[in-house]
């Protein structure tokens, strides 16, 4: 079995189980709620071209700093841009960044963690040292530094966030591998004549995955908040892109003049998205555990 095959099997097993979530009691409901929140945002973002009443970048679409009204349900900002349209469009970059950074983290953190901890010795020690150094930095500060270096853009932003969080994946994979390595079933694989590669892929990786998924889903929430932070300080995205983070920056400045709607709604959306991922993550880690498959 190749690695993709293993992953494929896991996905296939997961789908039928969504339906049985309700039976799981509290954990199931949390997952459903989380997934619902995330899906709502995703659907809204995908449907943006069709449902957005105005062009989010259109300056002067309405009166400046208008309160929420019938024609502008979420009000307008200081440039007369419709907040509702900005809200609908704003999630797009955030989601892209979140997904991309998590993917990069998975692609880098997991294999490096697996190989490093399985090999042990000097390789392991030096990699851990490198990872720990990165981990020691406060996340947002590091992200800002890297984003400032790389310049704006969705890809660059994702990369800066990914760098910050790769050590988390590495560490959890490593701690799992170190304990699983000593378990009898890994010894059993060796006894049967499994090569190192087979042992890693078929015996160790599948047992490490649940914790990786747990980290990944919480990481989505982290990535979103960090991304918002980056755009809040003005890094990462060109000004013309509608983004909740931008709106937070402006919204903050506009608060003293009483325009609460500019900061409130994007802020709320960020919370919903991050919370949704966090909740879904809670339940997902339980789902992927075959011990509960009954």
């Amino acid at each position: 079995m190749t690695r993709t095959e293993t992953r494929g099997r896991i996905v296939v097993q997961f789908l039928p189980r969504v339906a049985s979530l309700r039976k799981r009691g509290l954990a199931g409901w949390i997952t459903i709620i989380g997934l619902a929140m995330v899906s709502a945002v995703v659907v809204m973002t995908v449907a943006a071209p069709w449902i957005s009443p105005h062009d989010p970048n259109e300056i002067g679409a309405g009166p400046v700093l208008a309160e929420p009204s019938e024609s502008f349900p979420l009000g307008t900002n200081h440039m007369g841009q419709d907040m509702l349209s900005r809200l609908i469009w704003g999630g797009s970059t955030m989601l892209q960044v979140a997904v991309l950074s998590v993917l990069v983290c998975l692609a880098v953190g997991v294999p490096v963690g697996l190989v490093s901890s399985y090999a042990g010795g000097l390789v392991d020690k030096s990699t851990s040292l490198a990872m720990d150094s990165i981990y020691a930095f406060p996340g947002l500060v590091l992200a800002i530094a890297i984003a400032a270096m790389l310049g704006p853009g969705v890809v660059n932003m994702s990369l800066s966030i990914a760098v910050v969080y790769v050590p988390s994946y590495y560490r959890i994979v490593r701690s799992q591998v170190l304990s699983i390595k000593e378990l009898p079933y890994v010894e059993a694989a060796r006894t049967l004549g499994a090569s190192g590669r087979s042992t890693l892929l078929r015996y160790i990786l599948p047992n490490v995955l649940p914790s990786v998924v747990a980290v990944a889903t919480i990481n989505f929430a982290d990535a979103i908040l960090t991304a918002a932070g980056l755009t809040f300080v003005g890094l990462g995205l060109p000004i013309s892109t509608p983004d909740w983070g931008w709106d937070l920056t402006y919204g903050r400045r506009l608060l003293p003049s009483g325009a609460w709607w500019v900061i409130a709604f994007p802020g709320l959306m960020i919370v919903i998205l991050a919370l949704g991922f966090a909740l879904a993550g809670e339940g997902l880690s339980e789902l992927l555990n075959p011990k509960l498959e009954e």
């Binding site: 009898p184 059993a188 049967l192 090569s195 087979s198 015996y203 011990k291 009954e294």
Partner: protein, 325 residues
């Protein structure tokens, strides 16, 4: 079939930084110390001892799952120390291990049928379909019938006894010649143990296997094995046919073990010799005979010289200066 000579396995004791500075020499855990024995094809040898005796380590050394510190293991004419890498990997199909803990020795995320099939796939035996066929047959052979009820199950969906059967199936599907069974029934319910043992004996006849049983349970060893080797603190202290060792034990430690077994018969009168104290640390084993501090028959020489394993009665060896004849 198997010949082990002067096998040693020492583990260095990890010392803290300060200890490294202050202590003069390294200390070692003498897990296995100069162990020698041999087995013929078709033997069932019971390697009996308490914890720290080195029996599990010896078993794994025989399968080259651990590297010996020194000593020679010759299996079917092959010197195991000369094998490594790919050659060793392929050689493993001849010798397998049945594990103690049926739950921990099966990956919780691999279905039971697949776990067995992996044995064949790792060794490149047959096509995938052939492997599946053989796995199904093996499932039925160990009593998990019909195979369709079990092939796709996960380990946690089976009972302890069933899981152990899967472990046995996995070990035997490759048709190995030599099987080391490390406490195969210790973690199985009492009422099911005999069933697993019977299965192992049947399979022995059918596949012409040679077993090395590692256990601390003398009653079980008595039931299943033909010859016994008693280990204490890394050394073999007595070997011989089962009847001899259990009915006319020579070494005081064997006598102690036999007296300590709880017998499920309130009327049984046993000659009891329960030694004082506990097994000393294998890092600094006692000088001379390792059992002497606890031996009620010890004399001066026992603390000075180490007794060697000598044939005291035909085919019955003991390492003791004053065997209980």
């Amino acid at each position: 079939m198997l010949e082990v000579t002067d096998l040693k396995k020492y583990y260095p004791v990890e010392k803290g930084f300060l200890d490294k500075l202050l202590a003069s020499q390294k200390s070692f855990v003498h897990a296995v110390d100069d162990v020698s024995f041999s087995m013929n094809r078709g033997d069932i040898l019971g390697l009996v001892g308490e914890s720290g005796s080195g029996k599990s380590t010896t078993g794994r050394l025989c399968l080259k799952l651990i590297e010996p510190t020194s000593g020679k293991i010759v299996f079917d004419g092959e010197d195991l120390s000369k094998l490594s890498g790919e050659e060793l990997r392929k050689f493993r199909r001849n010798m397998q291990l049945i594990f103690q803990d049926p739950t921990a020795s099966l990956s919780p995320r691999i279905r039971v049928g697949e776990a067995i099939r992996h044995a064949l796939s790792f060794q490149g035996v047959g096509t995938q379909d052939e492997q599946i066929e053989r796995t199904r047959a093996m499932l039925e052979r160990v009593g998990l019938t019909p195979w369709s009820n079990f092939y796709d199950r996960y380990p946690h969906q089976l009972s302890g006894g069933q899981r152990q059967r899967v472990v046995i199936a996995r070990a035997l599907v490759l048709n190995p010649k030599f099987v080391v069974a490390d406490e195969p029934i210790a973690m199985v319910d009492v009422s099911v143990r005999a069933q697993i043992l019977e299965l192992m004996l049947e399979l022995k006849k059918e596949f012409d296997l040679t077993y090395l049983f590692i256990t601390h349970d003398l009653a079980m060893a008595n039931y299943v094995c033909r010859s016994i080797a008693i280990m204490y603190l890394g050394k073999i202290v007595e070997t011989g046919p089962k009847e001899e060792v259990f009915e006319r034990p020579l070494h005081p430690y064997t006598l102690a073990l036999l007296s300590s077994i709880p017998v499920p018969d309130p009327k049984a009168k046993l000659e009891r010799m329960i030694p004082k104290g506990e097994i000393p640390s294998p890092i600094n084993p006692p000088k001379g005979c390792r059992f002497h501090p606890r031996c009620p028959y010890a004399q001066k020489i026992c603390s000075e010289r180490e007794p060697q394993l000598e044939e005291i009665k035909p085919n019955h060896r003991a390492a003791c200066f004053f065997p209980r004849v």
